[in-house]
């Protein structure tokens, strides 16, 4: 990779921690731990199984669960699918209503759409202006037929944090299954599943310095939650998810989560300091808006709308910086971010948004450099923007009759 590129897209994926890569490497070659964990007849299998169970313990420890409650999957997308479709189909005799939110990840929204085609009724809740789903709105929409609530812990575009403790209390009291997509949470916020009333929780390896292609689903034992499996073929993972376990991936995720448990505090302190510095540096740019609220978000994600500039052009101008945008132009659909729209942000501000996300390997030097570059290119792009001219001339853009195409 070009060494002058700065990576500010940790919310999209993280590099594998070198300590994780080393552990993974031990599980590949003939003289390593390459066996099939399901082989019961020889040492190769036993050793692989041992490594898988150790990793399961590391994952369970980070979220204070019992290791028997952790099911390996191919990633958070599969975990979300298994949780939502699996629970809905298993409990369909109890009811057919599911509550989720408009700002969930597509890995939650698309399975919900599929369930709608199967006859389930889904309520998509609006977040508040900062991207938070309130317990009140869940209470307002719950019905006798509600069997499942699926709400993310931390929103991937904004970093907004939902109160899953409060929501869990309510769903438990009302005998509703509660699924939480926690792909963005591990290593960023402490999670204690021994205390939380959460029934199902999705995890990802690659958002926490582990490898891609591996994830896990927490399936509560007390109370016992049951699921209809999506993948059949051998009954691995107590029938929840068949398929030969990828030892190297699992060991990688286990090691990554073990490190996260030890280093979360240190990482978070550092990242919070860098995020403060970044905001301090860029906040003297005129007409910028933080999407989300400092009061209720993780510092790892800073999502800013730069008014009168289109996000993709900003990404292009920030050519040595890897960030992502809510702009339509970066998506195949040409629709601006559905998350920002759900907050009630005007489309033009959604088009103008950039998500900067920081992580374990971000340095102060990088933060200062990116802030400097951002200031410079925002100025340059506004010089090119007819909207900036109009804003400076005092034209009310709301009242202009635009010629759309």
């Amino acid at each position: 990779m070009k060494s002058n590129l700065v990576y500010f897209d940790y919310a999209s994926t993280t590099p594998v921690d070198p300590r994780v890569a080393e552990k993974m490497h031990e599980c590949l070659l003939l003289d390593g731990n390459f066996g099939n964990p399901a082989s019961r007849s020889h040492e190769f299998g036993w050793k692989a199984d041992e490594a898988v169970e150790k990793a399961r313990l590391h994952v369970a420890n980070l979220v204070k669960a019992d290791s028997r409650e952790i099911v390996w999957t191919s990633g958070a997308t599969e975990s979300d699918n298994l949780a939502i479709k699996g629970a809905a189909r298993f409990y369909k005799d109890r009811g057919n209503h599911i509550i989720t939110s408009k700002i969930e990840h597509k890995a939650v929204l698309d399975p919900c759409r599929q369930l709608e085609r199967e006859g389930f009724e889904i309520t998509y809740l609006d977040p508040d202006k900062n991207g938070v789903i309130s317990l009140e709105s869940i209470k307002k929409h719950v019905k006798d037929t509600t069997i499942l609530v699926s709400i993310m812990h931390i929103n991937n575009e904004l970093g907004a944090v939902n109160d899953i403790e409060e929501i869990g209390k309510f769903t438990r009291e009302n005998n509703i299954i509660f699924h939480v997509d926690a792909a963005q949470s591990t290593g960023k916020l402490p999670i204690d599943l021994s205390k939380l009333d959460v029934d199902l929780m999705s995890f990802s390896g690659h958002k926490t310095y582990g490898p891609k292609g591996i994830g896990a689903l927490y399936v509560s034992r007390k109370p016992r939650v049951r699921l209809e499996a999506l993948i059949h073929g051998g009954g691995h993972e107590r029938g929840f998810r068949s398929g030969t376990l990828p030892t190297h991936q699992i060991v990688g995720m286990g090691e990554a989560f073990r490190i996260a448990a030890h280093e979360m505090e240190k990482d978070n302190k550092k990242i919070a300091k860098l995020a403060d510095l970044f905001w301090k540096e860029v906040s003297d740019i005129e007409e910028i808006y933080l999407n989300g609220s400092f009061k209720n978000k993780i510092p790892n994600i800073t999502n800013i709308s730069f008014a009168y500039i289109e996000g993709e052009s900003l990404i292009m101008a920030l050519k040595d910086v890897a960030v992502s945008s809510g702009s339509a132009c970066t998506s195949a659909s040409l629709e601006p971010s559905y998350v920002l729209r759900a907050l009630g942000r005007a489309d033009e501000l959604a088009h103008s948004s950039i998500r900067f996300s920081f992580g374990r390997f971000t340095t102060e030097k990088e933060v200062k450099m990116v802030a400097e570059t951002t200031k410079r290119v925002v100025h340059q792009l506004r010089e090119l923007s007819p909207l900036w001219d109009m804003f400076k001339d005092g034209v009310d853009l709301e009242k202009v009759e635009w010629v759309t195409h």
Partner: protein, 131 residues
């Protein structure tokens, strides 16, 4: 994702706007036509201004564009094609020519369409002033 040409045009314009016809003219002047197309909610707005002499030749252009890199590069490409052309010649510039020159992928064709629309609108504005 972007062709080399789009990146080049975008960067030239960004780094040296004056030399690349970024700016504005007096929209009320008799010899100036202004065309603004697109909408902020759609993610692109292009404002083209042409200066026309008494022989109906476009002698100068200015533009400003809010939009993605391809929209900005399309504006730049359009300007290069416009200067020195008569109004009749300019009316015949097609979005497809701009798209081909910049090797725009199909998802970015709307950028070149916007450029063609802005030419038409600027010429119409100029002609309405003369009439």
């Amino acid at each position: 994702m972007y062709s080399r040409k789009v990146i080049q045009k975008f960067e030239e314009t960004l780094n040296n706007p004056q030399a690349h016809n970024v700016g504005r003219m007096d929209a009320n002047a008799k010899n100036v036509g202004t065309g603004m197309v697109g909408a902020p909610a759609c993610g692109d707005v292009m404002r083209l201004q042409i200066e026309v002499n008494d022989k109906d030749v476009i002698t100068d252009c200015k533009f400003k564009t809010y939009g993605c890199g391809s929209a900005i590069a399309s504006s730049q490409q359009m300007i290069e094609m416009l200067i020195g052309k008569t109004l009749e010649e300019a009316k015949n510039i097609k979005d497809r020519e701009i798209a081909e020159l910049l090797e725009l992928p199909s998802i970015k064709i709307h950028c070149s369409v916007l450029a063609e629309d802005s030419i038409k609108k600027a010429i119409a504005d100029y002609e309405s002033k003369k009439a």
